[in-house]
């Protein structure tokens, strides 16, 4: 297989940026390596020992030289720092219109769920040209979600959510690797990413015998676990209503104000006592052991679907896309201007 190539495929919005940074780093390295090698070779030959008794004169240390070769290289490294940090910062800020995919990693497989309900194992189908955000957790040890063609990598840690986002820019089939050693079959925890044309992707979405969207499954779980007994939608229950909760600011009993993101929702399901909402009693039992990580993300999608605010994701509930027509974005994108300004406030 394989001709020897020196640059991996560039298939995401970050790939080109990372590669330019790489070329800069290589150029600096080649410059200094060649310079030092050349100086050593030149000095070694030019000043080779010509007699056993010669004693060369000691050279006095030049302060200016010492300062120059400390400060100038450091200046160059600051370019590396700034450049790398700016890419990293961008990688940490998913756009609001990114579609959401949930990943639960376990020894030794990747389990993926699309909000529309499709589930995949060790395969990931995504459309080209649309930002996508992955929310990930692990059921056991630390794994790492790595797609070389996208130049992205993020550890997947048990007990917490990590996220990564990107926009695929080129259709094709790419490697998905686990990059953090996770036990015996670590090197078997691999898969394929298929980046598809939007219409093909829509066909693929429609093709699978969908068992309902993630939000619908979450809604069913919500009833099965009897969450709905207390968390009544009209707020008349013993517990706070969850309508419109996602990304809202929540006043806690201990005085803190936090944003109701995925991590908070997950924690509140598994460790309800950790952050109790002001004005409520810590009555809720833990659901640790009653619901697995895949169920938790379905519950979260359900709670998000209760949000009246649009523009905060792929609007999971109303994905009643007319068959054949691919138009999921405009629905959400139509209203983000009034929608986004509110949840983003401090």
């Amino acid at each position: 297989m394989g001709s020897l190539s020196f640059i991996p495929e560039q298939a995401s919005n970050f790939a080109v940026e990372v590669d330019y940074l790489y070329l800069f780093l290589v150029a600096v390295t080649v410059f200094f390596t060649v310079g030092i090698f050349a100086a050593i070779f030149y000095f070694a030959i030019r000043y080779r020992r010509r007699s056993e008794t010669e004693i060369p004169e000691a050279t006095h240390t030049g302060m200016a030289l010492e300062i120059a070769w400390s400060v100038i290289p450091f200046g160059i490294t600051m370019v590396m720092f700034g450049w790398g940090a700016s890419i990293f910062f961008k990688e940490s800020r998913p756009p609001d219109n990114a579609s959401q995919i949930y990943i639960v990693a376990k020894q030794w497989m990747w389990k993926l769920q699309h909000p529309e309900g499709q589930r995949e194992i060790n395969e990931l189908h995504i459309p080209v040209g649309r930002p996508v955000k992955f929310t990930m957790t692990s059921e056991d040890v630390i794994h790492s979600f790595f797609i070389p063609a996208f130049r992205t990598k993020q550890d997947v840690v048990p007990g917490r959510y990590s996220t990564v986002w990107l926009t695929p820019t080129k259709t094709g089939k790419y490697h998905l690797f686990c990059a953090e050693y996770c036990g015996t079959k670590h090197s078997g925890m691999i898969g394929w990413v298929y980046v598809m044309e939007p219409n093909e992707y829509q066909e693929w979405l429609n093709g699978g015998a969908s068992m309902g969207s993630m939000a619908e499954k979450g809604g069913k779980l919500f009833d099965d676990l009897a969450c709905s007994n207390c968390h009544k939608q009209d707020g008349s229950g013993r517990c706070p209503s969850l309508v419109g909760l996602y990304r809202k600011h929540v006043q806690l009993a201990d005085g803190r104000v936090i944003t109701a993101d995925e991590a908070y929702l997950r924690e509140s399901i598994l460790q309800p006592d950790a952050k109790v909402v002001a004005g409520f009693q810590p009555l809720m039992p833990t659901f640790q052991g009653l619901v697995n990580e895949e169920g938790v993300v379905q519950l979260i999608e359900y709670i998000k679907s209760l949000s009246p605010k649009p523009g905060t994701g792929p609007a999971p509930v109303n994905i009643s896309t007319p068959a054949g027509e691919f138009k999921p974005i405009p629905q959400g994108a139509a209203q983000p201007a009034p929608g986004t300004s509110v949840p983003r406030g401090r």
């Binding site: 070694a44 290289p73 720092f81 940090a85 040890v141 990598k153 007990g159």
Partner: protein, 539 residues
């Protein structure tokens, strides 16, 4: 070569007493250095056997020579043995132990009994690690990341970690011994700024050993607590935080990189100076840069955690701080290069290793800048790029320096010379084999080959085969010295007191040195590397 009086039957530290007991209960720092030398040579070749098996397995994409389970144990034990039982003790415990006291005009280290104890601790730690290896091995990787190591691995984690724990005290005690020795035992006139840079480097290393290693010990105790007693510290299923382990682990293990490479830099100073007959250019800057590396080394551990879910801002701070490492590193390389300017350069074997060190450390150091750059690190962390980078620093740096130092001081330690032609040949083979082994791994990593994979996609095979081919050449480069060093002990030509025309107090005493080093404690009147004074004395 400068001739000296024949030294054949003079009493020295090797022939002053005989028998196993005279070695196992010795308090002579030189004999203890040789005990360490024998011990870590064994560790090195065992770690090397694991490396050989790893490279053989990786010659083909499938996991066919050994199972994935065995492969995981091989890279774990390769890392554990090479890092904790070879690289950390390597130069300090052998060359440092032997020459640090002599270089400052002392008759021994400050605490000779503690010195012997520290060797026994390494032996006990090594025995525990060996027990774990033969009982079934360990498969966590040398990094012991949680919760895999505490809750999931079914291998000999505790025995291995206990071995490392015990060996850590060996390292702490060696560091303690060096610090006190440098402070209290310098000969009259041996001021701080007359000390050879080898001593400065070891002093900085000793600070790291004393301040960093206890954190590793604490971390391993926490691993014991969780694995044995199920106290939730790192495993989220028990209420712990898995990333906490990584912070604690790298708080030691990043400074440990400098524990491994600073003594090597110290050796290179001696070699460059001796074989260009010039004082090291910018002595003060080079000495200070060793201390700077020791201090900065404690502030950059978070650059191992850029994709670990550590906060974005913490990532930026650690990236920024990591670039400060570049300053002292650049100072060293530039000053070594400048030392050659208008020197009298000879190409003896140790100098070839020194050139090799500068070349490989330069590449290793510069690729560190890649990894400190956040946006790039995200792509290559946990790939072969990282493996290539740290092998350039640890193997290309530390082991090249260690080999250079051994070839430099061998005549002093044994009183015998090794065959020069063979030595130069093996220096060349090592340099060539090293680059062929590890340079392709930079490309592999950039192409996306993850580390710790027993099997890999076939498109990576060409580069893996190159790397395996390089490893077999590298192995010859390490086996040859083992053979001719052993040969030289009996058949090597007798070396004089100062075969290289070097400065430094160790070259003013006979080879091999007498048990108490100096009949009379020397009075130091010159700066380090004062070649005009040496010439005057020899003449």
């Amino acid at each position: 070569m400068i001739t000296a009086a024949p030294v054949q039957q003079r009493e020295n530290y090797l022939n002053s007493s005989y028998g196993l007991k005279s070695w196992l209960l010795t308090k002579d720092h030189k004999r203890i250095a040789l005990l360490y030398f024998a011990t870590i040579t064994v560790f090195f070749f065992i770690g090397g056997i694991f490396a050989t098996m790893i490279r053989l397995e990786l010659a083909t994409p499938e996991s066919d020579l050994v199972s994935a389970e065995t492969y995981n144990k091989l890279f774990t034990m390769h890392g554990v043995i090479m890092v904790f039982f070879f690289l950390v003790p390597s130069i300090p415990a052998t060359l440092g132990n032997f020459f640090l006291p002599i270089m400052i005009g002392a008759r021994d280290l400050a605490f000779p009994r503690i010195n012997l104890l520290s060797w026994y601790l390494l032996i006990i730690g090594g025995a525990l690690a060996f027990f774990a290896m033969f009982a079934g091995g360990v498969d966590t990787g040398w990094t012991f990341y949680t919760p895999y190591s505490t809750s999931y691995s079914n291998t000999w984690v505790i025995a291995t970690a206990l071995g490392i724990f015990v060996a850590g005290f060996s390292s702490i005690l060696t560091g303690l011994n060096f610090i006190v020795t440098v402070h209290r035992m310098r000969a009259p006139g041996m001021t701080w700024f007359r000390m050879p840079l080898f001593v400065w480097a070891h002093y900085a290393t000793a600070l790291l050993q004393v301040l960093g290693t206890p954190v590793l010990a604490v971390t391993l105790v926490l691993v014991f607590c969780e694995r044995l007693l199920h106290i939730g510290i790192f495993d989220p299923a028990l209420g712990g935080d898995p990333v906490l382990f990584q912070h604690l682990f790298w708080f030691y293990s990043h400074p440990a990189v400098y524990i491994m490479v600073l003594p090597g830099m110290g050796v290179i100073n001696e070699l460059i100076s001796t074989f260009s007959r010039k004082p090291i250019y910018g002595y003060g800057f080079v000495a200070a840069s060793s201390l700077a590396l020791a201090v900065i080394g404690f502030l950059v551990w978070g650059h191992h955690l850029f994709v670990s879910t550590q906060s974005v801002y913490a990532g930026m701070v650690f990236s920024f701080l990591s670039y400060f490492v570049a300053i002292p590193s650049a100072i060293k390389v530039f000053n070594w290069t400048a030392t050659l300017y208008k020197g009298s350069i000879s190409f003896e074997t140790p100098m070839l290793y020194a050139f090799g060190f500068i070349g490989l450390f330069t590449i290793g150091g510069l690729t560190g800048l890649f990894l400190a750059s956040l946006g790039f690190d995200v792509h290559v962390t946990d790939t072969y790029f990282v493996i290539a980078h740290f092998h350039y620093v640890m193997v290309g740096g530390t082991i090249m320096a260690y080999m250079g130092g051994l070839h430099y001081w061998w005549p002093k330690m044994t009183g015998r010379m090794y065959p020069d032609g063979w030595a130069k040949l093996s220096a060349g083979i090592t340099f060539l084999g090293f680059n062929l082994t590890f340079f392709p791994q930079f490309i592999l990593g950039y192409l996306g080959m993850p580390r710790r994979y027993a099997a890999y996609p076939p498109e990576f095979q060409v580069l893996h085969v190159l790397s395996s081919a390089g490893a077999s050449i590298l192995a010859i480069g390490y086996l040859l010295p083992a053979i001719y060093f052993a040969w030289s002990l009996k058949y090597g030509p007798i070396a004089g007191a100062n075969p290289w025309g070097a400065t430094g107090l160790e070259w003013k005493i006979p080879s091999p040195p007498p048990t108490h080093n100096f009949d009379e404690i020397p009075i130091v009147t010159h700066e380090a590397y004062d070649y005009s004074s040496v010439e005057a004395e020899v003449a």
